[in-house]
Structures are given as C-alpha cells and as structure tokens.
C-alpha cells in the first residue's frame, strides 16, 4: 500500500531524512518510532504530498507522490501533530468544510459527517465552537477530519500526544477499530503504544531507518528469552574455549551459547535462555565456581525500550564520529 524507496529530504542546512526505504502492506498498522527530530514528521509530510522529496520515491496506493499528487491526496487522511482546526468554526461546520475540500458533497457528505462524529465520539459537541473544546476533543475532531473521506491510508502524526491517560486509551481503541479498512501509519515516541496497537515497527533515528520488524518479533524478544552477554577471563594461563562453552551450556535454563570474540585471555559469549528463565545468577555462580573471573554480565535485549535506545543512540554515536 505504501512503498518508500531511498527517500531523502534535504533542507538548506541539514538532512532530515536520509535514504530510507520501507514498505507497508494493506490493512497494517505501522508504528513509526523515533526520538524527536528523527525525521518522522518529514517522512509523513512527504507521504501526504505536503512537500516533495529531494531524492528517491514514495508511492501511496500505487500512485507516486510527485507524479500524481492529486490521486495520493484523495486516498490519504492526515492528522498533523497539531490538529488543523479553525477555532472560529463549530465542529459540524468544520467537518462539512473539510468534507467539501476532500470532494464529498450532498447526502454522502452528511452521512459521512454523522458517521465519523459518532465514531470519534464528538457527536455531543457538534454545535460547539472549536475554540471552546478541550484538548482531547480537539484531537478527536482532528482524527474525525482525517477519516472523513474514508481514505485507504491514514497518516497520524503523534495522535496521542498531549492527551490524558483515559483519552490516550480511547484514541488507541479508536485507531485499532479503524485498522482493517485503513492502512495506518502512526508516529509516536511512546513505546507501549506501538506494542499495543501496531503490527509492525519502523524505528528511525537521525533520518535513517535503524530497524524494521514486526511487533510480534520484538515483543518476543522482550517477553520471551533473555539474551545475556558474558565475558570470562582466566586467573592464570590461557583459557580453553570449548571447556568454557561446555560449562556455560550446562547451566540450567540455557538454550544456546554463542562465542562472540576472544581478546587476550578474555572470552565473550552471548548466552540465550529458555522461555521465561532467569539465568544470570546461575551463570555467575558457574563461572566463579569454575575458577574464572567474571568480567561482565549484562542482558542484551530485555525491552523494546532498550532496543530502541540502543539502536537510536548507537546511530547517534556513529553520526557524531563522522
């Protein structure tokens, strides 16, 4: 449904998006994850034809954003970071205006406005001025505006930012209800949100995609087995690789031991546990009881947060070196 290839966006002084590629299939909810300033909004603005890319191509529903922007715009619903609302309008008046902009008219327009007002739970404020609405209602009116013309693709820029916890849950539920009919990309920097509602995650940092995976895989890594990095050193003389490896494999709860590197008399292993087992105390005891030094012992990936932080900060470090 959405196909982005080698997309680059350069501004006068910096590169906001640097050669990113990804694909989104029909009906998926994709989380666009990244720290502030990573290029999420820029990518979304390119997909909605707000601005053209400097390089590369983006296709939405089979239409190129540069060659046929009108076709793309017809098929995309967009909720920018600040909902694009006119404070002097009433809610229903605003929705009617947006509907006309999107090319709806007559009875269909009225029907759609009724429909989305119901779905986004803004029916009770229909005759209120937008300037009098609370933040939560504004966000919902923004969402109603985005889905008004029943677009195939929905692009939501931080749809839950600035809402209170109850409103966040409601908004998430609403987004979940919308999936299926719509392909949804939503950007956020709240990780549990992605875990709850998205099927796929694209992690972006410094304008580059640093990871693309299904949430299923990522949460498996999170809830399931634990990966532990162990560094072992001998107290006297060189260590024999196979004996250390065998000793680690014998530890209860270990499913796999992978030798990573040898430096002088130090050996580094990546040890994976069985589902739901905590193996760090056992490993520590095994190493010490065998008469070796335990230099380092830490879990490699326990949460999406960690993956996210590692991916984004490693990249940031690389960038700094350059």
């Amino acid at each position: 449904m959405i196909k982005v290839e080698h997309l680059t966006k350069r501004y006068a002084r910096n590169v906001a998006v640097n050669d990113i590629s990804f694909e989104v299939e029909k009906g998926q909810i994709v989380g666009f994850l990244g720290p502030n300033g990573a290029g999420k909004t820029t990518t979304m603005r390119i997909l909605t034809c707000f601005m053209p890319p400097s390089d590369g191509s983006a296709q939405v529903a089979g239409f190129d954003v540069i060659q046929s922007p009108m076709e793309v715009k017809r098929r995309v619903g967009y909720l920018p970071e600040t909902p694009p609302l006119y404070p002097e309008m009433e809610v229903s008046e605003y929705l009617l205006f947006v509907g006309k902009l999107k090319g709806l008219g007559g009875n269909e327009l009225k029907r759609r406005v009724d429909d989305v007002a119901g779905r986004c739970a803004v029916g009770d404020v229909r005759n209120k001025l937008i300037s009098k609405l609370s933040k939560g209602y504004r966000q919902r009116v923004g969402l109603a505006q985005a889905i008004l013309h029943n677009p195939e693709v929905l692009i939501l820029d931080e749809p839950t930012s600035g809402l209170d916890p109850k409103q966040i849950i409601e908004t998430r539920e609403l987004i979940q209800q919308l999936s299926g009919d719509h392909t949804i990309i939503l950007s956020t920097h709240i990780l549990p949100e992605v875990e709850q509602i998205c099927q796929k995650v694209i992690i972006i940092a410094q304008g580059k995609v640093v990871a693309t995976d299904s949430v299923h895989n990522l949460t498996n890594r999170m809830r399931g087995s634990e990966t532990v990095n162990v560094e072992v050193e001998s107290r006297n003389g060189p260590l024999e690789l196979t004996s250390v490896q065998q000793r680690l494999e014998q530890v209860a709860g270990v499913s796999r031991v992978l030798h990573k590197e040898t430096r002088d008399s130090r050996l580094t292993f990546e040890v994976e546990s069985l589902q739901g087992r905590v193996i760090r105390p056992e490993i520590a005891r095994a190493v010490v009881e065998s008469g070796w030094n335990l230099n380092e012992l830490h879990t490699a990936a326990i949460s999406l947060e960690e993956i996210f932080l590692q991916l984004t900060s490693v990249d940031a470090a690389k960038e700094a070196k350059q």
């Binding site: 034809c49 707000f50 009108m70 967009y78 309008m89 902009l101």
Partner: protein, 255 residues
C-alpha cells in the same frame, strides 16, 4: 471552480465570525459618510450662492458629489486592504491549518483564487455600505448612474489589485501584524508614486508615476473606462496571485 467557492465561503464566514468585518464596515461608514456630507454640503452651498448672486454654475451632481466621494473612497481603500488580507495565509500558517489545505485534493491556485475572491467580496461588501449615501442622491436628484457604476468598477479593480498583492505578502509570513504593516507600506507607496510626476518630467518619472494605483483610478472616477487602466489593474492582480502561487510552492520546498 467548486473548490474555489468552498474556500471563498469559508473565508467570508471567518470574516463575519470575527469583529474585523463589522469594525471595518463601521469605520468605513463613518468616514465615507463624512466625505459624502462634506461634498453635498459644498454642493448645496454653491447652489445657494448661484441663486443669490444670479451667476450660474454648472450644477452637476456627478461632478461635484459623486466623483470626489469616489476618489476619497479609493484612498480610504488603501487603509482597509491590509486589514482584509493580513490574515488570509499568515493565520493558516501560524495555526498549521495550511497543512490541511495543502494536503487536500485541491490545487494551489484554487486555494489562492478562493481566498482572493473572498477578500474582494469582503471589500465589495464594505464599499456597498457607502452605496446608501449614493442612493440618497437618487431620491433627491437625478444623477447619471453610468459614471457612478464605472467608478465602482474602478474601485473594485483597484481593490482587487492591492488585495492580490496583500494576499502575496500574507503568504510570506506567519505573523498577521507583519503582513498587515508590509501591505500597508506597499499600498502607501503605490499611492504616492505619482507625486514624482509633479516635479519631474523625465521618462523614468513617467514610468514611476505610471505605477501609481491612484493615477489609474482617476479616469474611472470620471466615468471613463480606459483599456490601459483596466490592463494595468488586471496585470497587477495577475502579478500578485502569481507571486502568491510561487510563494506557496516554495513553502513546500523550504519549510
């Protein structure tokens, strides 16, 4: 075409939702009424003088009332126009609603024409307030309506040209006040440009004088339609809207 009307309707709506429209209309009614009173009082005085002295003046309502009133209105217009155009794009950019417009299946020029049309209608609505004064003339005298109509056409053309420039200026900033002040400066400049011709007769002075919007309004106030003036205003409208389109486009490349 439908999209232009959708945008125009929205703009008109927001003019009348805020105090701007009513404030401008009230201000204009007051000033235009004052000028009208002044011109008619002067006219009546001359009428009495001619009766008393027995000397006959050419007593022409068009020449002595309608023409000066229209000329004055065209100058007041210079002050009204910045207030009409300043928010057109600046406000959309500030509040982020420009993102909605630009990502909707509607073309840039439809947005621009819609907004300009709304501004022109707003200007026409303000001018219509002073029409009440003119109707009084018809109740008590028999002025020629054709030159008056042409005068109003001239006002609309002049207004349209300055509104187009104001629309462009509004699109270059996200601050309404900046847009308003800059537009006012341009209006003022285009007004006083013809003063150079009073002391300088060189070719450059003629060119500069030609740029003045008021020079081109003069014939209209006399009830004369000169193609050269119509072309001047139309090209100014085109220039303003063209620059707006370019600047809206550049928003996408830069922002």
């Amino acid at each position: 075409m439908k999209n232009i009307l959708v945008i125009a309707a929205k703009e008109i709506n927001s003019y009348f939702r805020s105090p701007i429209a009513y404030g401008l209309m009230a201000f204009f009614a007051l000033i235009a009424g004052y000028f009208f009173w002044f011109s008619t009082a002067f006219f009546v005085q001359r009428g009495m003088e001619s009766q008393m002295t027995g000397r006959s003046f050419p007593m022409d309502v068009n020449e002595w009332v309608i023409r000066p009133v229209l000329s004055n209105i065209s100058v007041i217009g210079l002050f009204l126009i910045p207030m009409i155009t300043m928010r057109l794009f600046a406000e959309e950019k500030r509040s982020g609603t420009i993102e909605l417009l630009v990502t909707s299946p509607i073309r840039d020029w439809e947005i621009i024409l819609g907004k300009w049309l709304a501004a022109l209608l707003m200007y026409a609505a303000i001018l219509a307030v002073a029409l009440v004064n003119m109707l009084i003339l018809f109740a008590y005298g028999s002025p020629d309506w054709k030159p008056m109509l042409i005068g109003y056409l001239g006002l609309l053309l002049q207004g349209g040209a300055l509104l187009a420039l104001g629309t462009f200026i509004s699109n270059t900033t996200r601050n309404q006040i900046v847009a308003g002040v800059a537009t006012f400066a341009i209006c003022l400049l285009l007004w006083v440009l013809d003063w150079v011709t009073s002391f300088e007769t060189a070719a450059w002075a003629k060119v500069v004088g030609y740029m003045s919007v008021l020079t081109h309004f003069e014939p209209f106030s006399k009830g004369v339609i000169d193609t050269k003036d119509v072309v001047f205003y139309l090209s100014l409208i085109f220039l303003g809207l063209f620059l707006t389109a370019r600047s809206l486009e550049s928003l996408r490349w830069r922002s």
